[in-house]
Amino acid sequence: MELWKRFDLVMFTGTYNTAILKSYISFVSRTMKHVVKILSLLVAVSAFWIALLQAAIIPRSHTWLLPIYFVVSLGCYGLLMVGIGLMQFPTCPREAVLLQHDITEAKDFLSANGVDVRSD
């Protein structure tokens, strides 16, 4: 078979399988456990990968490495998100000061109104 015909077949099979799985997932998603959703996604991706292997559009050696690329990029993405989050971590030093004011105000009011404010 010519190259362009095989590409068509792969795309069609992959998309068809994914579409079926996605509608199945959304149909039962209320009762389906989350882990099943993730596994279904992995199955869909694996089906696509196997189809790619069989169609051999990309040289087989590259195709075999695709899962590794996927896992590595997922790891890098995770590390990136952690790094960005860490840099943008919201802090509020002012709040500690405000809290101390509130505590003093509360202690004054409470002790004047018959509530014991010793901390031991």
Partner: protein, 246 residues
């Protein structure tokens, strides 16, 4: 015309605030004072669930009852330390509000955010409004770099695995519709902060509408309670449990 309708048809809601305490003799008094300060026009009750504190927390609560009224502050104590989840369940039994707020007693949750929780809920009719520390107007004070790193890493992991739909999973400053809390809490079995995660994830899975408001979190006990290896293991076990059972 619209204003008239609003005033005539406006329903006054009651809010039950459940605060589990253990050795919070001073903090509980300050929290009660602050709540009364910030919720002046709101119908609410405070339910203190004390687990037999040896430092006399219950005596302080009784003094507060003298000051503010026994109908506004309910002391529903238990004999000994029995855990957070059961404390909420215990408090729920006595709650007469339409909504239930849960918050910590150690002043890490500031009552000044209560109006924003209430407002958000009224605006969106959400089933749950949860406070998030990790957005722009929120924040944390009192954590060192290592703690922030652990927190951020844990958050990214939980987001990737669970798709929870909220930015702060372990937060425990939340407003629930009473019926929603009763429904969600009955299906949760974890302990500690995994319990808070389980609540919000189960609620998300059940399709309840969850909204978030920014809150600031001042951690004054960080120095005394470290986040050790065992906590991390507990957290990972909790994640796997939630992954498989929700």
């Amino acid at each position: 015309m619209a204003d008239e309708k609003e005033n005539i048809g406006e329903k006054k809601y009651k809010y039950s605030i459940i605060i589990p305490t253990y050795n919070e003799r001073l903090n509980i008094a300050i929290i009660v004072y602050l709540i009364f300060n910030h919720l002046r026009d709101v119908d609410f009750e405070i339910i203190v669930v004390d687990d037999g504190s040896p430092d006399g927390t219950q005596d302080i609560v009784k003094q507060l009852q003298q000051l503010y009224g026994e109908d506004r502050i309910l002391l529903r104590a238990r004999a000994k330390k029995l855990g957070l989840g059961t404390a909420y369940i215990h408090g729920l039994k006595y709650a007469t509000g339409d909504f239930v707020v849960i918050m910590d007693a150690d002043l890490s949750h500031h009552p000044k955010y209560l109006p924003s929780f209430i407002k958000k809920q009224l605006e969106t009719d959400a089933s749950i409004v949860t406070g998030t520390r990790y957005v722009k107007d929120g924040g944390v004070h009192g954590w060192n770099l290592m703690r922030k790193l652990t927190s951020r890493g844990a958050n990214v992991l939980a987001q990737t695995l669970l798709w929870p739909g909220v930015s702060d999973l372990t937060g425990s400053f939340r407003l629930y519709k009473k019926l929603v809390l009763e429904d969600v809490i009955s299906s949760c079995v974890s302990k500690g902060y995994v319990f808070q995660m389980e609540m919000i994830v189960r609620a998300s899975r059940k399709g309840y509408q969850i909204e978030e408001v920014p809150i600031t979190f001042v951690d004054r006990v960080f120095g005394t309670s470290k986040l050790g290896g065992s906590e991390i293991v507990e957290y990972l076990k909790g994640l796997v449990y939630l992954l498989l059972t929700t």
